[in-house]
């Protein structure tokens, strides 16, 4: 039972982590919480779903299409909605409110164009679960966990080993100094959003396969946002750790305490935790962040 609970917690936490990475990436550069991220995840899920229904269950095409599509949406989002504000030196609070607007706009666009139907991905894996010391691991979870791990490691390599990655890390410490040193800010922001969008595409497809595709599915990311806060907003390893912690905590509370009071209990713990460590596990504490 303990092992099964741990596995379930890990697989839920893995999804939170994947989503939290997107939040943290944007937050580390622009110091605002991009609430449109959940909506981009939703769009990624839709793209993935329609591709897989057109191309007869090819997960590769669906995943690739969702990554590219969501990255394009994220880029459009930043260049149409955020860059004009950033160029006029708007404070992060305005960006956050704009992101809420973008999120509501996109969600309703889906309502009027695609409709409010629920869609379910076709069954991709023939065998739905594998046995592991008497516990069941879903094949999808295993695949998702491995794929996410590879993607996050790839991102980590990109940030530490490339010139652009170094520039992004520099800008996350101080944007002004970075731009004084010759970093093209608009381009850098674009790259960050493309990366966040790509992760949104991955998260969207996995969420869609695991659960369902529908217009308000982006709201599940509120939990991922909380995971990012626990780990320390703006910190990439923090986002991963926060996601896993939240997933495991929730699962253990509902198994060993009570599923009825699960959220009451686990979120009281989160609040207590943040009172003690306001910047999260690995975050840097800055007052102006929104």
């Amino acid at each position: 039972m303990f092992l099964q609970t741990l596995i379930t917690g890990l697989s839920i936490g893995g999804i939170y982590a994947l989503m939290a990475v997107g939040y943290s990436l944007v937050f580390s550069i622009l110091n605002f919480s991009n609430f449109a991220h959940g909506t981009i995840i939703m769009l990624g899920a839709y793209i993935g779903y329609f591709l897989i229904s057109w191309f007869y269950s090819s997960l590769a095409i669906s995943l690739l299409g969702a990554i590219v599509g969501a990255a394009i949406f994220a880029l459009l989002n930043v260049s149409l909605a955020y860059i004009p504000l950033i160029n006029r030196k708007a404070p992060p609070l305005y960006l956050m409110i704009t992101s809420m607007g973008v999120s509501i706009f996109l969600e309703n666009m889906v309502y009027v164009t695609v409709g409010s139907h629920f869609y379910s991905f076709p069954e991709i894996f023939k065998k739905s679960s594998v046995s592991f010391f008497g516990s069941e691991i879903s094949t999808l979870d295993l695949f998702a966990l491995i794929f996410s791990f590879i993607a996050i490691s790839g991102l980590h390599l990109f940030l530490t080993r490339t010139k652009m990655g170094t520039a992004i890390r520099a800008a996350s410490y101080d944007m002004t100094v970075a731009s004084l040193n010759g970093v093209n800010m608009n381009r850098l922001i674009g790259v960050v959003f493309i990366l966040a969008g790509a992760f949104a595409g991955i998260a969207g497809v996995f969420l869609g396969i695991k659960y369902m595709v529908y217009p308000t599915m982006g709201w599940i990311t509120s939990k991922a946002y909380i995971a990012a806060v626990i780990g320390g907003l703006g910190s990439l390893p923090g986002a991963v750790i926060g996601g896993v912690i939240l997933g495991i905590l929730e699962t253990f509370v509902s198994v060993y305490i009570s599923s009825v009071i699960r959220d009451v209990f686990s979120f009281s713990l989160v609040i207590i935790f943040l009172v003690i460590l306001p910047a999260g596990l690995l975050g840097k504490y800055l007052e102006e962040k929104v």
């Binding site: 379910s120 076709p122 069954e123 308000t216 198994v255 599923s259």
Partner: protein, 399 residues
Amino acid sequence: MNKKKFRAFFVILLVAVLTLTACSEPLQQSDNGNGSEKNGVEPIKIGNTVALTGDVSIWGQSCEKALRLEVDKINAAGGINGRPIKLISYDNRGDSIEAVNVAKRLIEQDKVVAIIGPAMSGLAIAMSSVAEENKIPFIATQATNPQVTVPQEGKVRKYAFRTCFIDPFQGKVLAQFAYHRLNARKAAILYNVGDDYSAWLAKYFEDEFKKLGGNITNKEAFRSGELDYRAMLGKIKQNNPDVIFLPNTQKEAALAAKQARDLGIKSILMGGDACGTPDIVTLGGSAVEGFYLVNHASMDDPDIQDFVKEYKQKYGEEPVLPEPVLAVDALYLLVDAIKRAGTTEGSALAEALENTANLKVLTGTLTIDPKTHDPLNKPAIIQQIKNGEFVFVEKFVTN
């Protein structure tokens, strides 16, 4: 300045015209028995509030067609005591406010003697005050919430009736079916703590199952909007129950079924009438194979075969169940009450409806409980999903 004013005026005019046309357009009216009026016999007007547009219109449109079919049959056979029936159907769009407007229009403008519909509890509760005030009885079709006829314990709305079973009854049916037919002794429940329908249905099931001598191994909860039930299901798995009851919407039940199968749970799954929509199969895939659910009507029910045949002959398509058969039951119920009352006056009609006993209707025999205005021991249909189709298992009567 003038130009601006003119433009503003023009815009207001345009908006007004658009709103007016938008309001009047969906109100459809179907006339029946016009021919008889020439003979000087005044028809009996029966109102029908039904969703002809909107999300639930596939059922509503079929319901209106079924009623028209039956009214034509009754009129061809001489009507009620020689008077033909005139059916007046208005669109309520599945909306509570619109339901009130439709009820007012039917009663005040068309002067109907009674109303058939609506199909949803929210709409029925909203329009019940209009019916009460004007002393016009209405017979809801698929409104399963107890409060439609009994707003509070021990008090019944005099003019509200229905032909469907109610939620406590559903819970009872499923518990008895699980215990007697599936020989289940251990049951687990996974319900939505944030939804009245789900929470109460879970409780009704639990009470009955325990009364029968069964054991509820787990009663686990989740919250609306949540998608992952594996933690709760993992806990359920440990006790290895015979059945898992999912009193949820088709979306939640399909997800829970998928996750249960992923965890290697082999228990029989069952759900309430909210699962009875075909998309549970598209959403749940192979995981919902063998899923049992309770429903109001089934295409395979031997009692309704003649009706289905006639409907297909007239409209060239199958009726969309269950609303049409429940509406036809309501029509028979009403016709019988008018005959027995000998008048179409509202309070006499309500009393006659209240005292209906052992009336032969489309789906079986109907007895109205005078204390609650709900059908007594109405048979429920148990269906099972096999090869992606709803298959009729049996017509189940509680004891």
